[in-house]
Each structure stands twice: as structure tokens, then as C-alpha cells.
Symmetry: C3
Subunit: 346 residues, 3 copies
Amino acid sequence: MAMTLGELAAKIGARLRGDASLPVTGVATLAAASDGQVSFLANSKYHDALRQTRASAVILSEADAANWQGNALISANPYLAFAKASSCFAPEDDAEPGIHPLAVVHPTASIHATASIGAGCVIGADAVIGASARIGANCSIERGASVGEGTRLYPNVVLCRDVVIGARCILHPGVVIGADGFGQARDGEGWFKVPQLGSVRIGDDVEIGANTTVDRGALDDTIIENGVKLDNQIQVAHNVRIGAHTAIAGCTAIAGSARIGRRCMIGGAVGIVGHLEIADDVTVLAMTLVSHSIHKAGVYSGSHPIEEVGQWRRNSARLRQLDELARKVRRLEQRLRALEGDKDND
Amino acid sequence: MAMTLGELAAKIGARLRGDASLPVTGVATLAAASDGQVSFLANSKYHDALRQTRASAVILSEADAANWQGNALISANPYLAFAKASSCFAPEDDAEPGIHPLAVVHPTASIHATASIGAGCVIGADAVIGASARIGANCSIERGASVGEGTRLYPNVVLCRDVVIGARCILHPGVVIGADGFGQARDGEGWFKVPQLGSVRIGDDVEIGANTTVDRGALDDTIIENGVKLDNQIQVAHNVRIGAHTAIAGCTAIAGSARIGRRCMIGGAVGIVGHLEIADDVTVLAMTLVSHSIHKAGVYSGSHPIEEVGQWRRNSARLRQLDELARKVRRLEQRLRALEGDKDND
Amino acid sequence: MAMTLGELAAKIGARLRGDASLPVTGVATLAAASDGQVSFLANSKYHDALRQTRASAVILSEADAANWQGNALISANPYLAFAKASSCFAPEDDAEPGIHPLAVVHPTASIHATASIGAGCVIGADAVIGASARIGANCSIERGASVGEGTRLYPNVVLCRDVVIGARCILHPGVVIGADGFGQARDGEGWFKVPQLGSVRIGDDVEIGANTTVDRGALDDTIIENGVKLDNQIQVAHNVRIGAHTAIAGCTAIAGSARIGRRCMIGGAVGIVGHLEIADDVTVLAMTLVSHSIHKAGVYSGSHPIEEVGQWRRNSARLRQLDELARKVRRLEQRLRALEGDKDND
């Protein structure tokens, strides 16, 4: 995977300042880089690391390049340029086309000749696996599910019946797509299960992190649009719709029928209440409960501050009395106004 | 699965107003329904959708039926009646009785002749699989575990040794029942593992969502009573007891030895501290930390409000000073009282 | 597994007061113990249970032993002594050395002769499984991953390529180690995947709970040091480092590049923001968001109080106006000072 710095610059669309013929063998952080490796500076606060790096070249912005004497790959978006450089050195995938003899494929399933089906996979009736798709070991794909061209399932993924996964998606281990949504109708003191007759439709270029779950719809489908990126252990309930290119960090829980806009960035461990709407280009910071619709792009937060436990206890006790405190302040204002009036009348 | 509207009314226990001979072919939302489909109105705020629906019949309450000219299936509980209608149109299960040739079943395990064991399943010594149970692909069932009559395990479920699952339960993909509880005893600067010698006992008619985990008890068993409904990615720690017919939404975390009452409704992403009790018929709203026992039925909440980030920062800074603010107000009251006294004495 | 009380005392390092020849057959809680069983008292508030227990012997502290007439196993750390007693009665593991005929092992993988590989396991090229390691059913171990001596993987665990698991670790069902970290670089309105070229290195004596996920690093490795204990459904993002002997309760989410010290205790459902540091010996209570570095050992919290819903609504509304309330109080102070000045000037 060795190439010259000039070749790398061309591949990642950066402007080279320095030795084009230098051989480069990999990427590393500024602190860890050694001879032959390329690093990057995407945040100016790491200037100290830049000064001390032993990297053979650094990807950075025009402005930061002024503070760096070595070989530079100058880019308007150094993090993106670095991501591209990094992908030049990513390990080759070793999955070979074909169905492993210890996979179980239903005779009516359609497996493209260029697809790779790992050992221990079980693929049901009428399932469709597209060209160049790679299905890792021990995946279970129920009847009627389909996987688009170039999509990769890592081991132990479950696709339930009839779900549709687009092209070039990545599903990490333990992902479950299309389990029943949580629909229960009160029936006396118990519950009657509401059959979940919808499905899940996932667009192209979607990435889904390990052990994330996306439930099938009750009647309509749960929909994840193109380019959405979901981190690990996210829960997407039935009939949610997530707009294109939205990115959601780990452990976020999205309740039923919530509609999330395009290009949103949702922090980790966020909760999103059901049946609400979030506009395009909304950012929600970590551990916030989105309890009502957000109609305007912007940044929102709702986490509780962390404190030393004694201070936290005192403040929490006051928080439980906050309404009373506000009433007290109002009464104080009234009494003060009265006194001030008296004063004026003196 | 086609039937007449009259037949459907009888099946779901609704009163028919309209054409009993009309053929119906499925269910759908008010917005999506087309000719031949039945829809429902469970929440009067969707009246607009009712006016515009193309459904052939609608399940609704007596009161709402007054605003609807078409075929009506009138019910005191339209959502329950709809759930029953929906189940008339749910796809047939295609699991066939018998053990798949690529399942691995220990010779001492007992598999009922009417049970279905999927490909890739591994079933340990002395395990018992009841009549009509269906075990999906790639499930791992350790020695001594038992699965009741009519219970369904979706793919990639794990049952650890000796756990007991009742009748007619549904376990969605990735569920893990009976992993060791988190018991660690301090031993110098490290930890000594406390063996988890209890088990898990799950009643009848319990549904457990994808990737939910229920740990085995330390000494006594973890217990989930009849009719409990758990959504996805819930964590139930060792020695928890969940009362009958309680429903818990996704991503809730329940710490060790908590006891939750019957018919409770616990919102999503709730945290429940260990060794506490929650009474029957308690509702807890989303993302609340239940930090102490709740002895009285009612609705409880404790989520932090969401705000635009600037306003949130200002309010959070004040929250950290809340105790000080309350003291200030008390001092103000004292000073004001002094002034008022002076006034009276003037 | 029967032994005498004297033998048990010796095994757990407790001082025996009573009948050394008494046969003991197991352990149980004070409430559940019956003849022949040993129980323990680690928390003095359970004295009532002590009075009523039918246990044949009780493990307790010197102080508590004064209130107990029966056979006593006296220990400075009764919970630890009980854990050791409990381990004397834990069921034997039944895994036999060797590779199950329905496991799939790549010819270049190295499996120690004393290791046990369960049915349905898929083990990739160049993977290494150490002596006495036990790999449960349906685990997927990708190429190059290694498992140390005596480590146990329960069923359906996934180890991604090249991850390193130390000796005597326990990985519960559904654990995923080494899935790609969540690295996405903005590229127009979409995202470009940042290849995750680092790995995961897990030390010795680490326990990881069911469905917990630990992501591989972007460039450097994600590191979990010796003796760390992770509960279920924890998310550890890329490039996190967790110090030795730290214990973390269930459903905690740790964002990228966070560094957590040694011997910390992190409560359940905690969120830890990325790129921060937590000192050694820090305790964080449940459902707290650690939003900035913690430089000093101590106990920290940040959960919102739970209240009856009406009171919660009133207090929440005030919380949104807290900054305004604080400003009001400041104005009151100014006005009051002015009045007091007037008074003095009268």
C-alpha cells in the first residue's frame, strides 16, 4: 500500500508543498506518527503536537501550514482529506465471493454470484442479496429481506422478514433490523399485541453501529433515508423517519413515529419522544430529552449539570422547591413595591 | 385473508354500521388506506385524517362515529379493536415443526415434536423446548434452559443455563436471558467476581424486545411476571422483579434488586436505581431517574427541559448556584421584613 | 460440593466461631437460607433478617457477630468472604476441550489443544485462541483476533479483526469488540467514512457484560486495562482508555477518546463526553452526564430529581426561567439596598 506523497496528494485532492517523491506507508496521529507516515491537524488547539510530530507530512489548512516547516498537504477541509488518505491505507477486505458450505440458503433466495455469504449464515425464502454484498458469519436473514449492491453485514446481524437495505450500506455486528415495533393495546389489565405489519426501508450509503436496533412499522414502514449514519446501540422505534445525511451518536433512543429532518446531528444518549418533528439541520447535544417538536434549525440542549455530590444534593433540594422560590420572589417584589410606594408618599 | 366486513366485526367484537357484505383485504392508517382496507381512529385529534380517508371502513368510538358517514366498526376501545383486526391480516408464520439438520441439539435435550428448531441453533444438555415453540436461526440455548409452549424466539437469541421462559412468550432478535448479574466484591484495589447462582424466571405471555438483556440472580432468581412487555435494549439487572402486565419502553435501565409493581408503565430511557420499590399502577415518564421508592400510584417525571443552547447555558449556570440563590432570597426576606417593621414603627 | 464449615472457613479466610464439623451444602440469602446453607450480612440494616434466618452459619463482621448466636464466619470484609464462599458452590463448567465438528476454523487460526470451541463458531485466519479458553456457541471471531489463556466467551460474541483479549477475561453473550468507531468527515451535505485503522486491546481479568460494545480506534487503539469490570449494554467508543480496576454499571455511554482513571466507579446510564479525562478514584452516580474533565477524586452527580408530574411541570417551567429569576433577585437586592440607604439617610 506504499505510494509517494505526490500520488497521495492527488488522491485526496490536497495541494502538496514539499517532496512529491517521498514514499508514504501509512497514517497516524501527530503524536504517534513516525518516519514515512502522514498525519493531520484539523483543530488548531493541537499546535503543540504539530511542533513535536515526527510525521513525514501533515495534512492541514492553509493557515496552519504557515506554522509548519515540513511536507504539507494543504486542504480546505483537513479532516476530510485525512479521511481520504486513511482510506488509502485501510486493509483489503478478504471476503471471497460465494456461499460458504456451512451457510444455509433457502432455495428460493437469490444470491448474486459476486456476493459473499459467510459460514453460519441462514438466509430465508425469497431473500435477495445484491452484487458484491458481503454477509458476515452467523447472520440471520429472514424471508423476503433484501440487501443492496455492495452492502456489508458484519457477523451476527439479523434482518427480519421483508426489510429492505439499500446499496453500499454497512451494518456492524449485532444490528437487528425489522424486529416488531412496541405496539400493545390495553385489554383489561393486560395487553393485546398490535401486529407490526409494516417493514423497514433503509436507503443507500447508510452505516449502522453495533447492536443498534431499528424496528419495523406498525402499518407504514420505518424509514431511514440515504446517507444516514447511526452509531452503536441506538434504538429506532416503529414508524420513525430519519432524514438524509443525519448523523446520530451512540445510545440514543428514538420513540415511535418521530420524524427527524435532514443533516441533523444528534448527540449521544439523547432521547426523542414519539410523534414529534425535528426540522432539518438541528443539532441536539448529548443526553438531552427532545420532549416537543423543534421547528427551527439550531443547537439545542437539556442535560443537567454535573457537580460534586454535596453541592448537587443542595441544589437538587432547591430545584424541587423552585416554583415556591419563584413565588417567594414575586411576593418580595410586591412587598418591595409597596415599600417603595410608601417611600414616595413620605 | 379476505373476509367480509360483517365477519371482521364479529371477530373483533365491534358493532357494525354499514355494509356487512363488503369484502375487506387489510388494514392501514387513515392516510394510507385505499379501497378494501379498514382503518381506525383512536385519538380524536386525527379527525382531519378521518375526513380525508379512502378507507372502506373505520374502527372508531360511538362519539367519533357521529362525524363519519362511511362504514363504521364501533367499539368502546377502538385501538384494541384495531389491534384485533390487524391480527386477522398478519402474515402466517412459516416455521415448520422439526429440527433443522444444521441445528445442534444435545442428546439429553427434550424437543417437543411440534416445536421448530432453526438452522444454526445450538441447544445444550437437558434443555426443554415445549410444544409449538419456534426457535429462530442461530439461537444459543444453554444446558437446562426451558422454553414454554407456543413461545417464539427470533434469530440470534441467547438463553443461558437453567433459565425458564413461560408459554406464549416472544423474544426478539439479540435478546440475552440469564447472563451473569454484575456482582463484584472489592478485593484490594481490584474485584472478586461474585458467582451468580440464581436464575431467571419469565412468566407467560411476556414479550421482550430486540437486544434486551435480563441478568440471572446472584442467589435468588430474577423474576418477570406474566404479561410483562419489554421494548428493545432494556437492561434488567440481577434479582429485579417486574410485576404482571407492566410495560416498559426502550432503553430503560433497571438496577439490581429493584421491585417494580403490576400494571406500571415505564417510559423510554428511564433509569431505576437498585434496591427500591415501585408500587402498582405507577407511570414514569421518559428519561427520568427513579432514585427512591415510589409508594403511591400516579405519574412521575424527572427529565430536564430542552432549550436553545444559549438559554440552556445561562439557566444551567444558575442551576449550579441555585442553593445560593435560595439563600439570597431568604436574606432578602429578612431585610425586607426589617424594613417593613421600621416602616410600621415610623 | 459439600464440605464442612471448618473447611469453608479456611477456604474463604474467615474466623470460625461455632461447629467446624457442620456439613454445608450451599449459600443463600438470610431470608431464603435453610438447613445446611451459609448466608451473609454485609449491611447492618438487614439485622432483622439476621434475627429470623434459618441459615446454618452466617458470614459477618466482628461487630455484627455480637448480635448473632449461631455459627459465625467472621471477616473484615463479609461481602468478599461471601463471594469466595459462593464460588465454592458455583456449578462446574461443562465445556470440553476441542473444536466442535460444526465449528468453522480457518486453517491458519491457532487453537490451543486445551481450548474449547463451541458449535456454530466461525474463527478467521490467523486468529489465536489460548490455553483453556472457552468459546461459546455461535461466536464469530474475525481474522487476526486473539483470546488469552483461560478467557471465556459466552455464546454469540463477536470479535472483529485483530482485537486482543487478555487472559482470564469473561465476555458475556452478545458482546461486540472491535466494530468500527463512529468516524465521519463532513463531505458536502453528506459524510465520508473515516476508516478505523486502530484496534482494541483488552487486558487481563476483564469482565464485559451482555450486549456491551467496544469500538476499535481510528488510528491508535481503544484500551481497557487489567481488572476492568463492565456491566451490560455499555458503549465504549473509539480511542477510549479505561484505567485498571474501574467498574462501570449498565447502559453507560462513553464517547470517543475519553480517558477514565483507575479504580473509578461509574454508575448506570451515565454519559461521558468525548476527549475528556476523569482522574483515578472518581465515583459518578447514575444517569449523570460528565460534560467536562474531572481532575480530583471524589463523588459526582448530575441527575435531575424525580417528582410527581404536576410538581415537576411547575418546577420545569421555572427552570426555563431560572436566569431571569436570578436577575430579578439581583434587581430586588439593588432596590432593597437603595431603600435601606434611604432609611439610613432618614
